[in-house]
């Protein structure tokens, strides 16, 4: 989605000088003035067509998913996926309505962990990064190395699982979905560099002279100055939390705490299991009756992505300005 919007803007911008040229050209006696920034009309057309095709390629899968979600199951089994289905049906959405308790619950969990997780994550990462970015901090080398080390070597799945479940006792709690993703060594290093580059020592010096405490310096001076960097890691960590399903797979047994993406993965994995173990299903048909069919799966994808897809255009300009502010300021 983000790409296509960009491209449509680009092509709009590119076609503007062309219009002006036509209007201007009539006045200045057919004298061909060419803007240096203008593309040759042929090239422009080719690019527009190429980008147009690319845009359609980006949007098409999503439209296809919507179409499949509105196809009747009978028609999928008989004819496979079709662009214009033989038979339309809203059964898939009726199925979703039946499981709305689980769906809404999962939505709630996802939103909660995304909001809480992002806030905690951004705070912790920027605290850590700020501390190791300041030259007067004596142990900064050690702590930088400590973070850096985890980027190269990690404990692996089983030790992580042992720490989270047995040492911290987080199994089947909402914190198991939040805490494992809170710290990210890579973001710490990015933020450290960002703090070192964009927050000059002299600003902090002047703040100290005016009598600001460390807290005040951090929240009222450093934080606003490094907003672009913070916006970036906040965006990454939001996406990380929204799309995370693996921690839920490992640490959550309670259906009430399953986030949305994990729910989707679970359904997908259950279908896969069902296909590999046909005999289990045949002996006790009712076990798998509750599993959604292809169309319902697609309907769930629609439900899960739609909010983000719809809200993205409204936030896009903040993202772009947030990400570019740093570059033009100095």
């Amino acid at each position: 989605m983000p790409n296509d919007l960009n491209q449509t803007q680009v092509s709009v911008v590119a076609s503007q000088p062309l219009d002006q040229l036509k209007r201007g050209g009539a006045k200045i006696k057919r004298k061909k003035t060419r803007d240096y920034h203008e593309l040759h009309p042929v090239v422009n057309t080719i690019f527009s067509v190429l980008l147009g095709i690319f845009t359609i390629m980006c949007v098409f899968p999503f439209i296809y998913v919507i179409i499949i979600s509105l196809t009747s199951e009978e028609s999928i089994v008989r004819n496979g996926f079709q662009i214009i289905p033989a038979e339309w049906s809203t059964d898939a959405y009726r199925y979703l309505w039946n499981v709305k308790d689980q769906l809404l619950g999962s939505y709630g969990v996802t939103i909660l962990i995304t909001v809480v997780g992002t806030v905690i994550s951004v705070l912790m990462i920027s605290f850590y990064a700020y501390a190791i970015s300041r030259p007067q901090f004596k142990y900064r080398r050690f702590f930088t190395f400590l973070a850096f080390f985890t980027m190269l070597f990690s404990g692996g799945l089983v030790p992580t699982y042992i720490v989270v479940t047995q040492f911290l006792g987080l199994k089947n709690t909402i914190w198991a979905l939040i805490l494992p993703l809170v710290m990210n060594a890579f973001y710490i290093i990015i933020m450290r560099t960002f703090f070192m580059k964009s927050v000059s020592e002299s600003i902090l010096e002047s703040a100290r002279i005016d009598g600001a405490s460390e807290w005040r310096i951090f929240f009222q001076i450093v934080f606003p100055l490094s907003l672009p960097g913070i916006a970036t890691i906040a965006l990454f960590s939001t996406l990380g939390y929204w799309n995370d399903w693996f921690t839920a797979l490992l640490y959550i047994d309670d259906p009430k705490l399953v986030p949305l993406q994990a729910l989707l993965m679970k359904i997908e994995a259950n279908l896969e299991f069902m296909k590999q173990n046909v005999d289990v299903g045949l002996m006790q048909q009712s076990l798998f009756d509750t599993l959604p069919q292809d169309s319902a799966k697609m309907a769930m994808v629609v439900i899960a992505t739609l909010p983000i897809a719809v809200s993205y255009p409204f936030f896009q300009k903040y993202f772009i300005s947030g990400l570019t502010i740093g570059g033009v300021k100095e």
Partner: protein, 484 residues
């Protein structure tokens, strides 16, 4: 100044600890009990989608268990698709729990690793009734290096592969199914269906059947013939039988009896869509009845092999006691009761009488809506079938037929033999990859076996087929020697 920065950092580090501490309330409470006459809590992981009424049913279960064996049970289901990965991580992490569902190769590998308790002694004391109740073939088939590591579900011990037909079409064209013995016999029927029924695919995609007992699975070359020389492992793809069977399959494929994408398709051919004529499946007594019920039209099966007891048919569902269990004896007492006590077995499986099911005057039962919606437990993964109440529409002699079926079954050549693949791990890895490439295409007839089968065998040879064959034969001879 520096001090404050250190403080800041310390704060960051401590937030994590504080947050963790806030939520660690349930970890300390879980392993209490078992002493001072307190009922011991048995933690039981099993497969299936977690159900809404599990707590309600287990409140009843626990009431009963406290009286009987002074224990309570906490059953935690793990969803079908998550099972493989999650259970493996839990076992590897040494998480403390008592009983876990396991099956097939997972059971063998985890038992060899020492993740499960060997229960031979427990079976003689706490599990005496259980040992008497379970079909000996099931227990013997699950011995690994001479020891039993889990309680198999007492159900059908044998497997019988069958050709299943759509009865409506069989009747319509008056096909004589008694003549069907092999894949070749299907030809005239497939032809008729192809010519006259446009909406029907003659063959629901299946892999051609070969009469072997597989060391790994049907995709891998290593197999012991069920008929004839049962003591020597062969490469099943290097036999005349494989060539002729795949040739037949290829001619069917060319004739359009199978879907074109048969080799790669993941289509599961759901029974309730009537778009097929013949399919292959594993049968059990009264399977046609079950299948017809779920398909909502009649199907009829013809056996492709005699019922045979295979390693994987006896290890389809096993309850193992974890090596991390604090009280294996209590766990065994519970398993013993679960497999022999009809009240408990029905309670765990069907829920509470009057809430999840109702009992008719003649002793048969019927599901109430609550059982399907809120307590739909997979029967096969819990325990003994033979103490279960029958459903209203079940045949009265259902369990007798199961027993007959088990008794009629012949043991497969390698029943009880579990190959340890460690010495030839890298060869097996590359053979697996080669097989994944060739087998689906050959077994669905998508490619010409004349051309591809020799190519396949050549690649297998290069990947170290002979080394693995020798290793299997060596271990098999060792095992066989110990049997006598």
């Amino acid at each position: 100044m520096k001090k404050k920065l250190v403080l800041l950092l310390a704060l960051v580090l401590s937030i994590g600890t504080i947050l963790a501490a806030c939520s660690s309330k349930d970890s300390s409470t879980s392993d209490k009990g078992g002493k001072d006459g307190q009922p011991y809590e048995i933690k039981w992981y099993t497969i299936g989608t977690p159900q809404k009424d599990t707590d309600k049913v287990f409140a009843e279960v626990n009431k009963y268990l406290k009286e009987k064996i002074n224990a309570t049970v906490k059953m935690q289901q793990i969803d079908w698709g998550d099972w493989a990965q999650k259970s493996q991580v839990m076992i590897n992490a040494g998480e403390p729990f008592d009983i876990i569902f396991t099956n097939g190769t997972d059971y063998v590998q985890n038992a060899q690793k020492g993740a499960f308790v060997a229960i031979d002694d427990l079976l003689n004391k706490e599990g005496k009734d259980l040992k008497n109740a379970v079909n000996p073939a099931l227990l013997e088939g699950n011995r690994i290096n001479g020891k039993i590591y889990g309680v198999p579900t007492n159900k059908e011990a044998a497997r019988q592969t069958v050709y299943t037909f759509n009865k409506r079409l069989v009747d319509k064209y008056k096909f004589d199914l008694t003549k069907v013995k092999t894949l070749e016999d299907l030809e005239p029927m497939l032809k008729t269906i192809k010519e006259n029924e446009s909406g029907i695919t003659p063959m629901a995609t299946f892999k051609a059947y070969l009469p072997y007992d597989y060391t790994f699975n049907n995709e891998m070359p290593f197999a012991f013939p069920i008929e004839g020389d049962r003591d020597h492992v062969v490469n099943q793809f290097d036999t005349d039988l494989a060539m002729s069977t795949f040739k037949t399959m290829h001619s069917y494929y060319k004739a359009g009896y199978l879907k074109e994408d048969a080799a790669t398709s993941k289509d599961s051919w759901p029974m309730d869509v009537e778009n097929w004529f013949v399919r292959m499946g594993d049968s059990q007594p009264y399977a046609d009845l079950l299948w017809s019920r779920s398909a909502k039209y009649d199907v009829v099966s013809v056996p492709a092999e005699e019922p045979t007891t295979f390693n994987d048919s006896v290890s389809g569902s096993i309850q193992a006691i974890s090596a991390t269990s604090k009280n294996p004896k209590k766990a065994m007492e519970f398993l013993n009761l679960l497999n022999t006590d009809s009240y408990l077995r029905n309670l765990v499986d069907k829920g509470i009488e009057g809430v999840h099911y109702k009992k008719n005057d003649d002793g048969t039962i019927e599901d109430l809506p609550a059982r399907i919606d809120k307590y739909n437990i997979p029967t096969y993964s819990i325990g003994n079938f033979f103490v279960l109440d029958l459903y209203k529409d079940d045949p009265k002699d259902k369990w007798d037929k199961f027993k007959e079926f088990n008794e009629a079954a012949k043991p497969a050549p390698t029943l009880g033999f579990h190959f340890d693949s460690d010495p030839v791990r890298s060869e097996i890895a590359s053979i697996t990859n080669i097989s994944k490439e060739f087998y689906p295409a050959l077994a669905t007839g998508s490619v010409d076996p004349e051309k591809y089968l020799p190519k396949y065998n050549k690649k297998l040879k290069e990947a170290g087929l002979d080394k693995v064959l020798n290793e299997i034969q060596k271990q098999f001879d060792d095992w066989k020697g110990k049997q006598k």
